[in-house]
């Protein structure tokens, strides 16, 4: 534990780096997934291919992607931009599907009611479809955020410094606390971001959490069990 206490500064600055890289990637991936997911949802024909192709991106080993991307984009392999782009691609791989699922989860009756009241198509998308897809999209975003933050550590293998540094450096120097500190820091950041997203969701989508004042008949489940 000594090592951790003596290197709090290092852990802190790496954490900030890590957070910055991950957040940019998450935001980029999210921004790209909304239109992609919308297209996939709207046009049934392209849905299958788009969803499976983006899903397949997820299976490309991260190390390989980090080395191959620079060849395709011309950017330097060790640049932060390269890592962020790779992470954003993985984020898209997860998010597109949840955007499609989210739009699918909107009750067609609600959508039809909106049309019946005189919403135009574009207006309806932003005022009705997107917010109502929100909870599912948010759930996807939370998964994306956590996995992006944890995945970002591989950046160190191509020379982008973040909390992954503690893993390779700890291994070379055989300092177990250093590796452990890295894992804890990554997990803590991931869970923190997850929590922030959850809170942001509550704030942005108050209807999902407003309590049901009328007593909802609970599922009979629990009492049966008591009875059997």
């Amino acid at each position: 534990m000594n090592w951790i206490l003596e290197n709090l500064g290092l852990i802190g600055s790496l954490s900030l780096e890590h957070l910055r890289q991950s957040v940019i990637a998450i935001v980029l991936g999210f921004a790209a997934s909304i239109p992609l997911g919308w297209v996939a949802w709207k046009y049934k024909l392209v849905r299958g291919p788009v969803v499976s192709l983006t899903g397949l991106l997820y299976t490309i080993p991260s190390l390989a992607l980090l080395m191959i991307l620079p060849v395709l984009t011309g950017m330097s392999a060790i640049s932060e931009a390269n890592l962020i782009l790779a992470l954003a691609i993985y984020a898209v791989a997860i998010m597109v599907r949840s955007v499609v699922d989210g739009l699918n989860s909107v009750d067609p009756a609600t959508r039809s009611a909106a049309t019946a009241m005189g919403y135009g198509t574009a207006r309806r998308f932003f005022a009705v479809d997107l917010p109502l897809a929100g909870p599912v999209v948010l759930a996807g975003l939370r998964v994306t955020a956590v996995s992006t933050i944890s995945l970002a550590t591989v950046g160190i293998l191509v020379g982008v410094t973040n909390l992954g540094y503690l893993f390779t450096n700890g291994l070379q120097r055989r300092i177990i606390e250093e590796v452990l500190a890295g894992i804890i820091a990554v997990a803590a950041i991931a869970l923190l971001v997850d929590l922030l997203l959850l809170l942001a969701g509550r704030w942005l989508m108050p209807w999902t959490t407003a309590s049901t004042l009328k007593r909802r008949t609970p599922a009979p489940k629990s009492t049966e069990r008591a009875a059997s």
Binding site: D107, A109, T110, S112, A113, A114, T115, A116, M117, G118, Y119, G120, R123, V128, P131, L132, G134, M205, P206, W207, A210, S211, T212, L213, K214
Partner: protein, 275 residues
């Protein structure tokens, strides 16, 4: 006045939902479409606000072909209430009611004021304005649905089984409320149900439909009960009450009316005033 002229609707999968349907729906009156499931009631209704476009034929409102008006505008000018209310789950009650005024560009404050007025009209208390739909009972949700449909003060109100999902006691309450509202508002209401009792209670004009939106009988409730057009109508209007053929029976508590199975259906009072 709404006018259907030889209207048909074929869905892309080949279903003929409406076949050569013509009807005049008077203003300031309630017209009820009644018929069993799948006979085309919803399709007829949704043609009025162009949620469904007819395959053939013409629909006119006050003499003008409705295809001449942009669909979006037309819809904003017609109230529409559906089963399960169709409320936006992410809007509060007030926001839901104010939807159309907002779409028409009314300011936030003015539209909220309007929403609160309407809540009173339909019997909701102002304290519920900032709730979300799922925090209301089914009956209250339907009231919000009605308020929303009334928000732009439309001449026409379309109601598709608006009370189908609430329990009988609340339903009776909502029906009474609608009768009261209609006395005040005087809209052209087109109402869809498959409950013949509801049709007779609410309708000035009742249209009994069979598959393909075939008109079996059109008339006032009394005309239909007293003179069913054919056996099918007779059995249809009787089906839901065992039978409407009643006879008198003397009991120690007074004269009651019994149906063909000998079950008591009501109590005879001397005149038409409430007992």
């Amino acid at each position: 006045m709404i006018e259907f002229e030889n209207v048909s609707k074929h869905y892309p999968d080949g279903t003929v939902a409406v076949k050569d349907f013509s009807l005049q729906i008077p203003a300031h009156r309630t017209t009820v479409f009644v018929g069993s499931s799948g006979c085309g009631k919803t399709t007829l209704l949704r043609m009025v606000n162009r949620m469904v476009d007819p395959s053939h034929g013409v629909l006119r409102i006050d003499g003008e072909d409705i295809t001449n008006k942009p669909a979006v505008e037309l819809r904003r000018s017609i109230g529409y209430v559906m089963q399960n209310s169709g409320l936006m789950p992410h809007f509060t009650v007030a926001e839901n009611i104010a939807t159309v005024p907002r779409l028409q560009g009314m300011s936030k404050a003015a539209s909220r004021k309007r929403a609160l007025e309407l809540m009173e009209t339909v019997g909701l208390i102002p304290g519920q304005a900032d709730r979300y739909p799922h925090q209301l009972s089914g009956g209250q949700q339907q009231r919000v649905g009605v308020a929303r449909a009334l928000a732009s003060d439309p001449n026409i109100l379309l109601m598709d089984e608006p009370f189908g999902a609430v329990d009988p006691i609340v339903r009776a309450e909502l029906q009474e409320e609608l009768l009261r509202l209609q006395r005040e508002l005087d809209k052209a209401i087109v109402f869809v149900t498959h409950d013949i009792d509801e049709a007779f209670l609410l309708g000035d004009q009742v249209v009994i439909l069979a598959a393909g939106a075939q008109k079996l009988q059109v008339g006032s409730p009394s005309e239909i009960i007293e003179h069913p057009a054919n056996d099918f109508v007779a059995s249809f209007i009787g089906a839901q009450r065992g039978s409407r053929a009643l006879s008198l029976k003397q009991t120690e508590h007074g004269t009651v009316l019994i149906d063909a199975q000998g079950r008591t259906q009501g109590k005879l009072v001397e005149d038409g005033t409430v007992q």
